[in-house]
């Protein structure tokens, strides 16, 4: 009988297999493992959903920026002149701020023009500006003089913390500019609502004992405005 031959042959398999089968007991699957596929599917759905939401949010932002671009392109020609001046001054101010001057070494009040020689401007620093300034500057002039920069922002000492200062645009009660002193590269001033302000020149104000703030800053706002500020002491 052929099945008997096979049965007898199975009896000749290795001792190790026989011994292993003697005590072999499969581990019962844990109860929670039955839910594992469902949990994996749920995790996948959540991950994909979150990714889709994130993509949708980014897409909305892109549309908003695209809608703003044509308006900026329609700006008057003279705005570009002032904008150019502002952009060119901004990197220099960042460069000037690489090393904070000691308080006693703070230069005289109207040192903006001297501190921003055009030949020292570095084009690559222009790229550091997070927003291309495209709208008309506040002054609307091509060449800027210190006199063109009347005090337009006032420090808010009540909000000023160590290493960070706040100022307010004198023409806009709702505005709030903030500056954060950085360790190595001077200071970047940023509007709370967006955009960035850069130190202009190397003229600083000493307030209190250790607080040292720039007198002039140029700000690029999210809505395309460029603002030149002389910070007014409180």
């Amino acid at each position: 009988m052929s099945a008997e031959v096979l049965f007898a042959a199975i009896g000749g398999v290795g001792d190790d297999l026989v011994a292993k089968a003697e005590h072999y007991t499969a581990k019962p699957s844990a109860h929670w493992q039955r839910w594992l596929p469902l949990a994996a599917c749920a995790a996948l759905v959540i991950t994909v959903g979150a990714f889709a939401l994130r993509q949708g949010s980014l897409s909305d932002n892109f549309k908003t920026e695209s809608a703003m671009a044509p308006a900026a392109e329609a700006a008057p020609a003279e705005a570009a002149v002032a904008e150019e001046a502002a952009v060119e001054e901004a990197p220099e101010s960042a460069e000037a701020a690489e090393c904070w001057p000691a308080a006693e070494e703070a230069p005289a009040e109207n040192a903006v023009e001297d501190a921003v020689p055009e030949e020292e401007m570095e084009p690559e620093n222009t790229e550091e500006s997070p927003q291309e300034p495209t709208a008309q500057s506040e002054s609307g002039k091509g060449d800027l003089e210190p006199d063109d920069l009347p005090p337009r922002a006032a420090l808010l000492p009540e909000l000023t913390l160590f290493g960070q200062a706040y100022a307010r645009d004198l023409q806009d009660e709702d505005s709030l500019l903030s500056g954060l002193r950085e360790e190595d590269c001077g200071e970047v001033w940023a509007e709370v609502d967006g955009g960035n302000c850069y130190i202009l020149g190397d003229e600083y104000m000493v307030i209190g004992q250790d607080m040292l703030y720039p007198r002039y800053v140029v700000c690029f706002t999210d809505d395309g405005d460029v603002g030149l500020y002389q910070i007014q002491t409180p």
Binding site: A3, V5, F7, A8, I10, D15, A26
Partner: protein
């Protein structure tokens, strides 16, 4: 007592070897015999015969795995007893069903007898089993080496009986294909 010590007793021709064997492997051998034989008396006789065969085999043999050695003797003796009983129409336990299932994948009788000796076929089956996943291999051996009932296997492997039958059916089909591939005609 360790297996090596029991084997030493056999080699020393001490009758205590039989007592120690019965103490350690009596239930094991009896379970194998009971799976194959329906009669409890027949199973007990086979177990006793197993000890006698072990006594005669050691020396000269020194088995590496004593349990497998004793189990194989018990299985062979039980198989012979079952065939004898079936020939005399005196019942056959679970073995007939087991043989029916195995007949699905066995090569033609004349081909096996002509082309391969039994030990060669055993070597092929051994190689086949080592290609299987552990669970399928163990399940196959529990069914066709230990002749465990399906219900017992299902309980041991925490499966339902239909799953066990399904796995066994697939494994038999794989064995059939493997035997074909090895040149053993089906």
């Amino acid at each position: 007592m360790e297996d090596s010590a029991i084997i030493d007793l056999y080699w020393a021709r001490e009758e205590r070897a039989l007592q120690e064997t019965d103490r350690k492997y009596g239930a094991y051998c009896h379970a194998i015999a009971s799976n194959i034989l329906k009669s409890r008396e027949d199973a007990e006789e086979c177990v006793s015969d197993t000890y006698l065969h072990a006594w005669n085999a050691m020396p000269p043999q020194r088995p590496g795995v004593l349990s497998a050695f004793l189990g194989r003797i018990t299985r062979n003796l039980s198989f012979d007893r079952c065939r004898h009983n079936m020939a005399e129409k005196r019942g056959g336990g679970a073995l007939p069903a087991c043989l029916d299932e195995l007949s699905e994948c066995v090569p033609a009788a004349e081909s096996v007898e002509e082309r391969a000796e039994q030990h060669e076929l055993a070597a092929v089956i051994d190689a086949f089993l080592r290609t299987l996943p552990e669970r399928e291999c163990m399940l196959f051996l529990r069914r066709y080496w230990y002749v465990d009932p399906i219900a017992d296997i299902a309980d041991r492997f925490s499966m339902n009986e239909n799953t066990v039958k399904s796995i066994l059916r697939r494994t038999r089909e794989r064995l059939r294909q493997y035997l074909l591939k090895e040149g053993i005609a089906v």
